[in-house]
Symmetry: C2
Subunit: 301 residues, 2 copies
């Protein structure tokens, strides 16, 4: 039988990458989001829908009848999503996915979580060993849904929960780190940075899409870190992109204080499950991913 | 203004104790549950309703308009509740309480959680220091709702989450430890027990009701252990009741193996928040609570 996947939030940075990777694996892909039109290949069926509206998710699921659901949609407005009450709305609406799977127990459900569910003091964060201790509204509501997904798995359903670390690459939204770097370089403006010696687990967006597609196309249950497992300093990433865009001298390191979780020396993911159980391995070098990211920004102007 | 509280699950072991304690504090008490009639004083208004039915909770809240809600209702069938899919239904329905509080931000919400949200290997479990690591469907769904309550508090609402340890006393349902002891004693039958040297944090049901009432009548937010802080061995509790009911010799200690969490040497709660912030202190000795429990069983026959 044809594998039919619904990707919610399918026009966003992560959802689009997941939809493309699932398409490349041979899935029949449906994608949904609030936008009227999404920049997606014609054979990906687009559904314009606000999933927070009463009954919208159940209606969409009933209409499509997917064998797989990759649930990316959530409150993601940069600068706002961490403290938004909409996180509670997304939690409640998302539980409807489990209701669908309870009625159709052959369904495979993959939810998208975050490294911010963990106690970040852990450094290298492990799905099994690191305690969860979210500090934000966003992290708490994501963890609450992760627990519901775990519950569904304990009840015999096929669910997995991917915890995304620091994605970057073409298509990243303004308000985040690399877009700020790119815009400064392209406009010749100075950019105030932190000391940038903190190490983070950055994951290239196409790699992340592939990880999600493999997770969806398999049978692993429970929590899985979605990351590179190769943390680098912020400086390495910022300087790598800025050099390619001719703006390395515009970065003012150490000018902006690193507050809160930004000040932690290391946030990285343990990749044992991702590698051994999901079967993912990197195919691109850091230089290649930065080349592609820089090319995308150059083409955009 | 009159404080008007809705106690969900108000006819159950914990809900009834909470309703009586809230009444004693001067609240106007509404209680709800699936039973046609509840054994409650006449000035407690009873609402027969299945809260898992679509729209039932919103309807009840709209009808009563409570200033306070104590949410005890949940899947609690002895022997079944830990693995029941109904835990997911209760999670979703319970999120509706937060929606109500978002529309009426002066509302005080108290939810009832469980020590089984914690990593039980911790021994003496602390709201702030002990990681959460639930191992059952029940524990996971309770923790998911706890996170939603924490989220609501972070958004400025007045919510608290009481984590109940091991309640006992008059009215306890069959299928649990002390009712089995009492029934064996009253019928002269042997009872197979574990070695019973494990220590647990037992809390007398009237004390628990008082703790919940104080928590509801205050402004403490976040997670609060509801327990005695004075763990005793299972043997102490079993023997204490059995002696009072003339059946101490019927208890066959060490005959039944202690499996899973039953084999942990200690499960107790840190009472710092309960004592210092909620302002609760015990008023009865263990002997007094066992006297009352034994008297209730004797009267029941």
């Amino acid at each position: 039988m044809m594998k039919k996947v619904l990707v919610t939030g399918g026009a966003g940075f992560i959802g689009r990458a997941a939809a493309l990777a699932l398409r490349a694996r041979g899935f029949h892909v449906h994608a949904a989001g609030r936008r009227a039109v999404a920049d997606l290949p014609a054979d990906i069926r687009w559904h314009q829908v606000d999933l927070l509206e009463e009954g919208a998710l159940a209606g969409l699921l009933g209409h499509i009848g997917p064998s797989h659901v990759v649930h990316v949609a959530w409150e993601v407005t940069p600068g706002k999503y961490r403290a938004s009450p909409a996180n509670l709305d997304w939690l409640r609406v998302s539980l409807g996915l489990i209701d669908y799977a309870r009625m159709r127990p052959e369904t495979r459900l993959v939810g998208i979580g975050t490294c911010f569910e963990y106690d970040l003091a852990g450094g290298t964060l492990s799905e099994t060993a690191t305690p969860c201790r979210p500090q934000t509204v966003y992290g708490r509501c994501k963890l609450a849904l992760a627990l519901a997904f775990e519950t569904a798995a304990a009840l015999g359903l096929s669910t997995a929960w991917g915890r995304v670390f620091y994605p970057y690459g073409p298509g990243e939204a303004d308000g985040r780190l690399l877009p700020a770097v790119a815009r400064a370089c392209l406009s010749g403006q100075l950019l105030d940075c932190t000391v940038a010696t903190q190490r983070r687990d950055f994951v290239y967006i196409e790699d992340l899409g592939e990880q999600i597609a493999r997770l969806a196309d398999g049978a692993v249950t429970g929590n899985v870190n979605l990351c590179s497992g190769a943390p680098i300093t912020l400086h390495t990433l910022i300087d790598g992109l800025a050099r390619r865009l001719g703006g390395a001298g515009l970065m003012r390191y150490g000018v902006r204080p690193a507050a809160g979780e930004d000040s932690l020396p290391l946030i990285a993911g343990d990749t044992a499950r991702l590698r051994d159980e999901v079967g993912w391995a990197p195919s691109l070098t850091l230089d290649e991913t930065l080349d592609r990211t820089a090319a995308w920004w150059r083409a955009r102007g």
